[in-house]
Amino acid sequence: MSRRDPLLPNAGIVARREYRDRTRSPLYIASTILLMAIAMVVALAPIAVRYVDRQTVTRVAVVSDDAELASRAVSVADSLLNIPPPGASAATWNRPYSVEVADDMATAEALQAAGRVGAVMVVRRLPTGQVDVALRSSDGPNSARSQILSVAAFGIGVLDWSARLPAGAIRDPFLTPAFRVESINTATDAGAPLDSRQAASRYLLGIVFVILLLISIVIYGMWVATGVASEKSSRVMELMVSAASPRQMLTGKVVGIGSAGLTQYLAIALPALILLALQDRIASAVLGADWIAGAPLGGLTPALLLGYGVFFLLGFVLFALIYAAMGSFVSRPDDLQTLSLPLSLVAMVGYVIAIVALGGGSGTVVTVASYVPPLSPFVMLARLMVSAVQPWEVVLSIGLLVAAIAGVAVVATRMYAAGVLLYGQRPGLRAFVAAARRAA
């Protein structure tokens, strides 16, 4: 438009109306309270699980014809299954497993059928001298318990073999070898690689963050699109176009609805975060002194929170501008679902690559996607959570994102200006893309 109105105060006035309009609606208030409660329950869930867990002791029955083999199996399995967490006092710590010898196979099977035994280990010595261990369990071979017991089987075998060495052979006591993973592409905290506990925490937090980012961008972005579309369908847009410039309206909408989204978001996340931060204290109150920090926030640093905030805001603004332009192109809010699907899919692609990055993926696709908008908010956030990222990479990613926002803002404003007065057209994706090309 020929007239160049200053952004303020009208963008602010529009933003305030949008914010109030959202935050005062009963649906908004109800959903915020509900989600807040759910988030708090989820935050407390680990403590509840452990509380219940603490009460139960899983019994493992060992069946063997050879009494020596049976007692060896019990002691190895017991020592591997019941490793106290660091810092727990052996005196008061409750062992989660009880490994005991069953009289015979029939007894063990009856116990297992009755649900009183979680797993049965059948240990035999084959004619070749090899030790054969069968684990009867509802778990699959990949469960943590199966994995631990496979190590136990190896231990039983080694001990059995060494016990049958010729008499008089001199041997040192058996020492369990220590094992740890030293990842070369891992997140660091003040230069030092994270320990495994923190790394696991980062991975989980990364998943939570990326999911939250996807949900909030798509949901709050759709709020913007439906806001624009309903202004059009109620024809109040006709009054608006003479009262404010497209730039003012667009900015006001994105800022106002973005703030309403952010408010809801903080209302949901803050209580849950506080609960998580206090988890150790709550846990030691509920579970006693033997609670060992699960440290769900152990990997969280202020810098990461800041990074999350930055990528959330920039990502939202980028997507919201496109959503607003889409909203200006439909005559009825119903048509929006069709038109906005491709954009939601783009966000999904970012999400999927981010999940790959969280799982340790560090290939070219992940690296490039962490620089290129609109995928970068998701992928760079994921990389920041779980791997070492150079400062220049973060700067490049944010710089490209800001540049993309500036470019998209210009195009979106022009499309919005053309779209808001357009009625009766079928909202084709092709028409939308053609208009975007003309506006660019």
Binding site: D21, L421, Q425, P427, R430
Partner: protein, 322 residues
């Protein structure tokens, strides 16, 4: 000092909405912008407001091109009526007033005064969706004038109003005019324009076909309107066959005959009397605005023969993914 529409041309794809449209509106006038649907009225107003850009030509107010004018110069009542459905009436009025630079306090005070004037003071705290169409229209009118604009552009302001509200709106028009405001409204209802306008512009297919003071236009036209009242049969079918009669409108007990410039009243009276009827009224007067409209456009104002370019515009090829 005036509003000048200076050779404004606007095309939407293959459709020419405005074709070198030129006319002038004096400050402080009530001005009728007349034309059938699709004549280019809405497009002209949107160009004034800067919502749509002209392909050629310029619109100036007080000698300044519209692009240099502050937004609050204009008040705009769009043809499509709409408010925020779930927002309170007073809240939206304050909102629109604020966008035009009013302080919230002043906007609130003025809005309440206008609501009282329009006899809907109790609706201030209601949601807009709870109001009837007519009342919504009055609220929209208030939204357009709350910032006291110098020029008020109204697109078909009378459609959908009942007689009581029509009177209220007309009184508001007159008051604004007396305060020196310039009022421009588009309409295809010639009676309304006849009753309220000092000057008009008649447009057809984006071009000015006649314009100026209504009085001058009527004088310049050779046409006259004959009010004829007959005893017994108010409007017999042979009226249309009278010499020099172009059109006949029947009112209750009365007939209005639009006469061509060459018509001879004495000859008409002679033919009427020759039918053996007794004449109660034979009153020769200035042509109606409707007659002028027909004279210049060639068809009545409510004849929607042409498709509105606003409907087809701004043309994007429709289609794409269904």
């Amino acid at each position: 000092m005036s509003l000048e529409i200076d050779h404004v041309t606007k095309r939407f794809g293959a459709t020419t909405a405005l074709d070198g449209l030129t006319f002038e509106v004096a400050r402080g006038e009530v001005f009728g912008f007349l034309g059938a649907n699709g004549a280019g009225k809405t497009t002209t107003m949107r160009i004034c407001l800067g919502i749509v850009r002209a392909d050629a030509g310029e619109i100036r107010w007080e000698g300044r091109p519209t692009a240099d004018l502050p937004r609050r110069t204009w008040g705009y009542l769009p043809e499509e009526r709409g408010l925020y459905p779930r927002m309170g009436v007073l809240d939206q009025l304050v909102y629109f007033g604020s966008l035009y630079g009013e302080t919230p306090d002043r906007a609130r005070r003025d809005a309440l005064a206008w609501l009282a004037r329009f006899r809907i003071p109790d609706y201030a705290d209601r949601r807009a969706e709870e109001l009837s169409k007519g009342n919504q229209q009055k609220v929209q009118f208030i939204a357009a004038i709350l910032h006291d604009p110098e020029v008020l552009l109204m697109d078909e302001p009378f459609t959908g109003l009942d007689p009581v509200n029509l009177v209220l709106l007309r009184e508001a028009f007159m008051e604004l005019r007396d305060r020196g405001r310039t009022l421009i409204f588009s309409t295809h209802q010639m009676e309304m324009a006849e009753a309220m306008c000092e000057s008009v512009a008649i447009v057809d297919h984006g071009r000015l076909v006649a314009g100026g003071r209504v009085r001058d236009l009527k004088r310049a036209s050779g046409r006259r309107t004959l009010h004829l009242a007959l005893e017994d049969d108010p409007a017999p079918s042979w009226l249309a066959t009278l010499p020099g009669v172009e059109a006949v409108r029947r009112d209750a007990g009365d007939a209005e005959l639009e006469l061509l410039p060459e018509a001879d009243p004495a000859a008409i009276l002679a033919v009427v009397l020759s039918h053996g009827v007794s004449v109660r009224r034979f009153d020769l007067g200035e042509p109606s605005l409707e007659a002028l409209f027909i004279e210049h456009v060639g068809r009545p104002s409510d004849d929607d023969a042409t498709l509105s370019p606003e409907v087809a515009a701004p043309s994007l090829s429709a289609g794409g993914l269904a």
